[in-house]
């Protein structure tokens, strides 16, 4: 197991660097503000306005799910002890990953809810393959997403099956593979809350403090992801999508990239994919499978919840597996259906 408690910060080193860090951060903030004003003048006030609209929109859309995830994380901390988790979830990756994926299938909601829950599961001692499979499966194969995919692609029910297979495959394969490739990666457990209110005390107290703590920890990263996504969503021109429609391999890579850049929640990405009628079905399936697994908002949340080293090591293999799983599912289900 690679879960570690939060490393103790050597006070002398950390405090000595603080004034310098503060100056650097202030300078960066001022530079960013100036750059923003300059960008506003060159790009036009409307662009800045639209970026702020999309930014607020992504925050407002995602926050209810993040709150839900943090509340459920609090419930987990207050009611489910590590012993129970260890008894319920199989230890070996072979069984743990599918169990996690199945558990993810019953939680409706966008990615933002699954991150705090997966973090809490790991902190409570659940085997990592199960928690990570849950993390990837919950946003992608829950009933709400499947229904909205069916509605967005009327007359093409095979898209629903292909999406389900692709995302489930991604979750299970990553769950199996992670213990091998992530052996040396330590998940910086920001969840080890040292405050006594969270460890001892009443159930309500544990619940409230854990939920609040997770919200404060993850909320800032969600905002960061939303900001990045808003800038890219507004600035990426829609027209160049039409030009990739010809080459299928290029289209697959472009759609995977688009899925990462656009922080769409998994209930709505089906409608966006359905609207891109110039693009063939297989690349659009890649878009639907990669999006809920890795996007800017999610990577930001991963950094906040699991630590930067984990997030940086986790994202690339997940993208590769997701593209592969989507292509396999697409070839099997879409082409097979004729």
């Amino acid at each position: 197991m690679s879960v570690a408690a939060s490393p103790a910060v050597t006070p002398s080193l950390g405090c000595a660097r603080r004034p310098v860090r503060r100056v650097v951060v202030t300078c960066l903030a001022v530079l960013l503000a100036l750059a923003g004003v300059r960008a506003g003048r060159t790009l036009g006030v409307e662009v800045v306005r639209d970026v702020s609209t999309v930014f607020v929109a992504v925050c407002v859309q995602a926050l209810p799910f993040l709150v839900l995830g943090c509340v459920l994380s609090g419930v987990l901390a207050a009611t489910v002890t590590p012993a129970v988790l260890r008894a319920v979830i199989p230890r070996r990756a072979g069984l743990a990953a599918p169990v996690g994926a199945v558990a993810g299938a019953v939680l409706p909601g966008c990615e933002c809810a699954s991150v705090p829950i997966a973090g809490r599961l790991i902190a409570q001692g659940a085997p990592e393959p199960a928690a990570l499979a849950f993390l990837l499966a919950a946003p992608a194969i829950n009933p709400v997403v499947l229904v909205s995919t069916a509605v967005a692609f009327p007359g093409r029910p095979e898209m629903v099956l292909a999406r389900f297979v692709g995302s489930a495959l991604t979750a299970v394969v990553v769950g199996w593979w992670w213990p091998i490739i992530g052996r040396r990666v330590v998940i910086a457990s920001r969840r080890s809350v040292t405050d006594p209110r969270a460890v001892g005390g009443s159930r309500w107290g544990r619940f409230a403090e854990t939920a609040r703590h997770d919200l404060v920890g993850a909320g800032g990263f969600l905002v960061l992801g939303a900001l990045a996504a808003a800038v890219l969503t507004v600035l990426v021109p829609g027209r160049w999508l039409a030009s990739v429609a010809g080459h299928e391999v290029v289209a697959i890579l472009v759609m995977a990239l688009l899925a990462i850049v656009l922080a769409l929640c998994s209930e709505a990405d089906a409608f966006v994919a359905a609207a891109l009628q110039a693009v063939p079905l297989l690349p659009r399936l890649v878009f639907l499978v990669v999006g809920p697994a890795v996007d800017l908002k999610l990577v930001a949340l991963h950094v906040g919840t699991f630590g930067r080293s984990f997030a940086m090591r986790f994202a690339p293999p997940v993208v590769v597996v997701a593209i592969g799983a989507a292509v396999l599912a697409g070839l099997a289900v879409l082409r097979g259906a004729g």
């Binding site: 407002v60 405050d195 920890g217 800032g220 409608f271």
Partner: protein, 255 residues
């Protein structure tokens, strides 16, 4: 960030979420159906912060909390500042022009099952009108006058005179907005002459206009040009009869 500051920031976030639902401006960002979720989330955040404040007042927390690790929470002030100070309007016609993809937005064929509303010039959503005309270019729309509300913009990739009517369709939130266009056939150039409404005309019932001040919202009554729904880019044409400026609707999006 100290515990006290965390509570204040959380309170601000929760209050901002509740505020935009209560005064209705949340429709500029998310679907109307999301109102309950946003309201409950805002109330929950406020509650969690208040509970923590109450506990801290009774039994102050130990001094050295891991203040280093919650520096990221300062970023939570950004959406609060955006909502309370900037109050971003709904996406503008500039966004609609910028977001144009090759295919016009349509709903699924389910919506064409419902018959056209009765009346002389029934009001339709742009996306409803486009879907019906694309689905059946020579169907029941032919020979009917239709009333549409949208923003007047220069035509997309077409040279020459004329204008398009455009609105934005969203599925989940403003991040997935897609434009829906109707080409206006306007030999008398009525649409081009429509004045941009003055600031006070554009103001909604809440004082600040729901969309950007430069947008030209009009109500157009016209006749569907038969067969135009079969155009390659799925943009049907409407022959203009009457154009009048109107205030921006809230919500400004279609769904």
């Amino acid at each position: 960030m100290t515990r006290g500051t965390q509570h204040v920031v959380l309170l601000a976030v929760g209050v901002a979420l509740v505020k935009i639902v209560v005064d209705g401006t949340f429709v500029r960002y998310v679907r109307p159906a999301a109102a309950a979720a946003v309201l409950v989330a805002g109330a929950t955040i406020v509650l969690l912060a208040l509970v923590a404040i109450q506990h801290d007042v009774r039994a102050p927390a130990p001094a050295a909390e891991h203040g280093h690790r919650t520096r990221s929470a300062w970023l939570l002030t950004l959406p609060v500042l955006a909502i309370l100070l900037v109050a971003p309007p709904a996406l503008s016609s500039a966004a609609a022009t910028r977001l144009t993809t090759s295919t016009n937005a349509t709903r699924g064929p389910v919506s064409t099952v419902a018959p056209l509303p009765p009346g002389e010039a029934p009001a339709l959503d742009l996306v409803d009108f486009v879907t019906r005309s694309v689905d059946d270019p020579s169907g029941p729309l032919t020979g009917r006058d239709i009333t549409l509300v949208g923003m007047v913009v220069p035509p997309a990739a077409r040279d020459g005179p004329g204008r398009d009517l455009v609105r934005l369709v969203i599925s989940c939130c403003a991040a997935d907005a897609a434009p829906v266009r109707v080409h206006l056939l306007d030999p008398a150039r009525i649409a081009e002459g429509t004045p941009v409404p003055a600031e006070s005309d554009g103001a909604g019932s809440r004082g600040d206009p729901p969309t950007a001040a430069g947008d030209r919202w009009v109500r157009v009554r016209g006749r569907y040009v038969a067969g135009s729904g079969a155009a390659a880019d799925h943009v049907p044409t409407l022959r203009v009869v009457v154009v009048e400026p109107t205030t921006a609707p809230e919500p400004a999006y279609e769904y």
